[in-house]
């Protein structure tokens, strides 16, 4: 028997995994709610790809991958916000930039002596390897992200739904849009620590989309989204511990199962 819940929590790395994933899940789901509301989920995807280059590049120079990721994702998020509408309909340009970012990540990785483990943990996350220092960084980043999101949430909700009306009412919609993408960048960098570059949607899009199927209220929707994300992350880690599957796989599986389950249930009633 590998484990009762108490056995599982006897390990320091498991305690840190639960703490880190819980904190990040709340951030990802709250930011992700607005990402889904604004129809900007592609931005989360794009920023994670750009972050891959930042994380691998930073590690190459002996810097923290989380730090490198933050610099790259925030720079990219702010640029996307400033370019704004000029980016819409530029699928080809965006696609080329994204693949270039991934390619640069691969290029940086080629200089590593032991690149495959490092690459896998950035691409698919490694929540069981979260260090004390990383956990501390995540707590601070999560606090900053949630506080800033709360601060901009009213004009953000307004300008997400009715940009022209918001502009007429005096909302600085461009500033709000740029600030929001900077927060998406922060949330992506945190999510990557848990589920990796390629699976950020599991935390940032799955829970908010599921929550929006379950309630059409704004604040309850955000809270439900956060609750679902935490439940999926924790259940995923516990499942992975017991069946010895990759943790990110289990979290993503539960995120997808929750969304599809609710969708099918709604269709059938």
């Amino acid at each position: 028997m590998r484990g009762t819940p108490t056995r599982m929590l006897e390990y320091d790395f498991m305690q840190r995994a639960f703490a880190a994933s819980g904190i990040v899940a709340v951030v990802a789901a709250a930011v992700g709610y607005f990402l889904v509301l604004r129809g900007q989920t592609f931005a989360g995807h794009a920023l994670s790809h750009v972050g891959f280059a930042g994380a691998t590049g930073a590690a190459l120079f002996g810097l923290s991958p989380l730090g490198g990721m933050l610099v790259f994702t925030i720079a990219a998020g702010v640029s996307m916000g400033l370019l704004g509408e000029r980016l819409s309909g530029r699928d080809v340009a965006i696609g080329i930039v994204l693949s270039l970012a991934l390619a640069f990540g691969l290029f940086f990785l080629s200089f590593y002596s032991t690149n495959s483990a490092q690459a896998t943990s950035i691409l698919f996350g490694n929540v069981l390897a979260v260090s004390k220092a990383t956990l501390g960084s995540l707590v601070i980043l999560a606090f900053i992200t949630l506080a800033a999101l709360a601060f901009i949430s009213r004009p953000l909700a307004f300008s997400s739904l009715q940009p022209e009306l918001a502009e007429a009412k005096g909302v600085p919609i461009r500033l709000v849009g740029v600030l929001f993408l900077a927060l998406v960048a922060l949330a992506v960098a945190q999510s990557v620590q848990i589920v990796g570059v390629l699976l950020v949607f599991a935390l940032m899009v799955g829970p908010p989309a599921t929550a929006q199927l379950l309630t059409n209220r704004l604040i309850p929707g955000i809270l439900l989204s956060a609750g679902l994300a935490v439940a999926e992350a924790w259940a995923g880690i516990a499942l992975a511990f017991h069946v010895d599957w990759p943790t990110s796989f289990c979290i993503t599986l539960l995120s997808a199962a929750a969304y599809l389950g609710v969708l099918l249930f709604r269709r059938s009633v």
């Binding site: 009213r154 059409n216 704004l218």
Partner: protein, 265 residues
Amino acid sequence: MNALELDRVSLSRGEKTILSDVTLAVGEGEFVGVLGANGAGKTTLMKAVLGLLPLDKGDIRVFGKPVSRGNAAIGYMPQTRSLPPELRLSGRDFLATAIRGDRWGVPLPGKDDRREIDRCLDAVGAQHLASHSLGDMSGGERQRLMIAQALIGSPRLLLLDEPLISLDPHQQGIVVHLVRDLSRSLGLTVLFSAHELNQLLGAVDRVLYLGHGHAALGKVDEVINPDTLSRLYDAPIEVVRAGGHIFVMSGGQIVERDRHEGHTH
């Protein structure tokens, strides 16, 4: 006091002159239909009244005050429908986002805010839509909620930009009558842009017709006549009346038909 005054206003959008030395006044409580060819500047005029566009010359006053962005006296319903079709948000929460939407902070509606939302829902007869998701509503129901949203904060001037677009004729009639009743019961001044005159006949007090930098404001018969319209269109225009409808013709063709798909101007 007049609700809206344009004093020798010149206004352009890019290279195109929208208004050239236009002076006019709209009285308080008037329901004015804003008409004109696509690109004549109906949206541009509204944006200028909202203080979103600089004027080349002249000035615009709203209830005697110069235009300013965020003027609480103006309610606005933009033409662009940017709402995602599948939006899973209740009518009530949709309205709530407009309450103090320009202030930082968390959008938690208080008691007064909830009362204001109820007042606006009641005003447009949309209380039954409060708990429905926008994604499940018909075009007419969404339009009704957007009009309710424009009423938040008790504005005295309503700018409604193409509220009839993408509605069937029956829904169009309902929206026109709703706005006319609101204008009368709340004493609201309304500028209501549309690309078809006939939907507004019998409901509007006056029409404002824009074209080629000129503007004509008056009763339907004063504006919709060959002389005035030929000047606005800069081309010979015929006006044909049949069965209670008015058709504006140019060279044997009806102008203002099916040329309005999804443009902003």
